[in-house]
């Protein structure tokens, strides 16, 4: 078969039919374009929004945390069987405790295929004091390189240099302005009974005001001594290769180790359900728009089949098979879908440009970045084109089923 022969007849006739019904074709293509634009734009918007929410919330968080189990009150003695025991147990105050044996746990976790990075952390409360000003802080002792792999701290530095030499501290921007600190300045950290002076190495913007007001990050060793946990780590923070696998990883680890192990989904249940609700409604909107697109193409083609009855009859009399007539209309549907997709993607890009250019936050910065990934664009275009073909099935079958003798007589 000649290469030009594949769908040659069908394509030529389909294109000519579409060109012939100029206004009709233009209208339906604009309709498809609008549908595709909405789908592509809403997909890009929601992806951007979720990524943004995600980064803001999870950027400073581990995907999975490993901590020591809570202290529980053990019954003084086992109740004698058959006796009724009335008890009023007060739950224990939770002291800061280290993850037992974390140094040997760390390499085990690092070797797991799902795990991208592990960072030991010592965290606890304290006060930051400079002159007359005192602020309560959330103190974290970390190994900077490991910690950076978990929360990408270096990207969030807005002033100073991201380093944690002994005596250095990295602090949130709000805390810095509350205490009047700049990189190089010193301030004191107070915990229960220890008092240590540190130098501000860098200011970080973690994207959440409350975090920026509380965060003080110091070297692991310093935090251990400040919080009275020599050699300890209150938590091991894990970053995974697949964020959404956190739940399964946490479950697997819980079965393996006697620690309190939580995934980010568990610590951010509300966020997860919000994101899910958003995804479901986006999916629903896309589905409905797609349905409208399919119905639009189908209805135009149904009309076209009726309008082209005589032509269909002539073509059939000239020897076009029913299969060929079916394909003429399927190709029409496909072309409408494909051309509409290209126009629609252009429109979506324009909408995204307008959104980025004109919708700004209070600080004059774009709210968040939305981009239309090539893969998403191609996917939408492909689905729309496939839907075009799908929409053409019923009209195409009608065209093929026409009695050529009757079609010609009209």
């Amino acid at each position: 078969m000649h290469w030009r022969a594949w769908l040659g007849f069908e394509t030529r006739v389909a294109v000519r039919f579409l060109r012939e019904g100029r206004l009709q074709t233009a209208l339906i293509m604009v309709g498809v374009a609008a549908g595709v634009a909405v789908i592509a734009y809403i997909s890009a918007l929601v992806t951007g929004l979720q990524q943004n929410t995600f980064d803001k919330t999870l950027g400073g968080q581990a995907h999975v945390t490993v901590q020591a189990l809570d202290d529980v009150v053990a019954p003084a003695r086992a109740p004698v069987p058959g006796t009724l025991v009335l008890s009023n147990v007060q739950s224990k105050a939770q002291r800061l405790r280290s993850v037992a044996d974390w140094q040997s746990l760390l390499p085990l976790l690092e070797r797991m295929p799902a795990v991208a990075a592990v960072s030991p952390i010592v965290s606890g409360g304290g006060l930051a004091v400079r002159g007359e000003a005192t602020q309560s802080i959330a103190l974290s002792g970390v190994d900077l390189d490991r910690y950076d792999r978990v929360v990408r701290l270096r990207e969030k530095v807005v002033a100073g240099a991201a380093r944690l030499e002994p005596g250095d501290a990295i602090i949130g921007t709000e805390l810095a302005s509350d205490l009047g600190l700049r990189p190089g300045d010193r301030f004191a950290i107070l915990t229960g009974n220890v008092n240590e002076t540190v130098r501000v190495a860098a200011l970080v913007d973690l994207g959440v005001r409350e975090l920026n007001r509380r965060t003080v990050i110091v070297p692991l060793r310093l935090a251990q001594s400040l919080l009275g946990l020599p050699g300890g780590a209150t938590s091991l923070d894990l970053t995974l290769k697949d964020v959404w696998g956190a739940k399964d990883v946490a479950l697997a680890l819980r079965g393996q180790f006697p620690y309190r192990i939580e995934s980010w989904q568990e610590t951010n249940a509300q966020l997860v359900s919000a994101l899910n609700a958003q995804s479901v409604s986006t999916g629903l909107i896309r589905l409905i728009v797609l349905l409208v697109v399919v119905l639009g193409i189908a209805s135009v083609l149904v009309v076209s089949v009726v309008q082209k009855r005589r032509e269909i009859g002539i073509l059939r009399a000239m020897g076009a098979t029913q299969g060929q007539m079916v394909r003429v209309f399927l190709v029409q549907g496909g072309i409408v879908g494909a051309v509409g997709s290209v126009l629609g993607l252009g429109l979506a890009l324009l909408m995204i440009f307008l959104f980025t250019a004109f919708v700004r936050g209070a600080d004059g910065q774009p709210l968040f970045a939305i981009v239309l990934p090539l893969a998403l664009g191609l996917q939408v275009a492909l689905i729309a084109s496939a839907c075009g073909v799908l929409a053409a099935i019923a009209p195409a079958r009608r065209a093929a089923a026409m009695d050529p003798a009757q079609a010609i007589r009209i």
Partner: protein, 250 residues
């Protein structure tokens, strides 16, 4: 121009209809039999006029011969092949390879130019139009006097010109039989003559068989054989004796 001549096969049986019946609305109160056991044979190279009053079944017969409609009963052989057993695809392929159609005007594809209309049968068969096919289409259009109108759409052509395009289209694959339904039905006398002259010329040059349905007694008289249909039966089937020679008629 390579002309596949059918002249060598002249006299062979091409169409063989035996006891053909056709009913519409079968099983309904308004069931009506249009053809009542009709038999007709057409040999290669014949030039047949099919006449008869309106409602006599001419168009139905032509549609059955043209494989556009199925008969209700009877047998039909084309070139010895029984078409009763063919499915839709088989009928389509048989139609494609054996038959050409010239309908009443309006039956060109309006979205395509004259040349494209003539190359359409090739496009249907092959999926593309080869240079030879396009060349052949040009030659045929030139042969029917439309060398200057090839790029024009049907709406830009007169009725007579449209019908000549249809003749070129019917002949592009040199089918052994061309069926023409009122080919001059909507034309004035001059155009009518012009079209008829082309049909006769193709018949003479290529040996193509023609069955022409017409209301025009003047035209019927210029064919070689006259078949008259009355009430779904053949009332008359006779050769036409003409005083003038076929050459003069052309």
């Amino acid at each position: 121009m390579t002309v596949v001549s059918h002249a060598d096969h002249r006299g062979q049986l091409l169409i063989d209809l035996a006891d053909v019946r056709k009913s519409y609305n079968i099983g309904m109160p308004n069931e009506a039999e249009v053809l009542h056991g009709l038999s007709l044979q057409v040999k290669r190279g014949e030039f047949v006029a099919l006449i008869g009053p309106s409602g006599s079944g001419k168009s139905t017969l032509l549609n059955i011969v043209g494989l556009l409609e199925r008969m209700t009963r009877g047998s039909y052989r084309i070139n010895g092949t029984d078409v009763g057993g063919l499915d839709d695809k088989g009928l389509t392929l048989m139609r494609r390879d054996t038959l050409g159609f010239v309908f009443q005007f309006h039956h060109l594809l309006p979205a395509f130019t004259a040349l494209e209309n003539v190359t359409m049968p090739g496009l249907i068969r092959e999926g593309y139009v080869s240079r030879q096919q396009r060349e052949r289409a040009r030659e045929l259009l030139a042969a029917v006097g439309l060398a200057d109108a090839m790029g024009k759409r049907p709406s830009e052509l007169s009725g007579g010109m449209q019908q000549r395009v249809a003749i070129a289209r019917a002949l592009v694959f040199d089918p052994p039989l061309v069926l023409a339904d009122e080919p001059t039905g909507n034309l004035d006398t001059a155009s009518s003559d012009e079209v008829f002259v082309e049909l006769r010329r193709m018949h003479k040059e290529r040996g193509t068989s023609f069955i022409i349905v017409t209301h025009d007694p003047r035209l019927a008289a210029r064919c070689d054989r006259l078949v008259e249909l009355v009430d779904g039966q053949i009332a008359r089937d006779e050769p036409i004796a003409r005083e003038e020679s076929p050459a003069a008629a052309d």
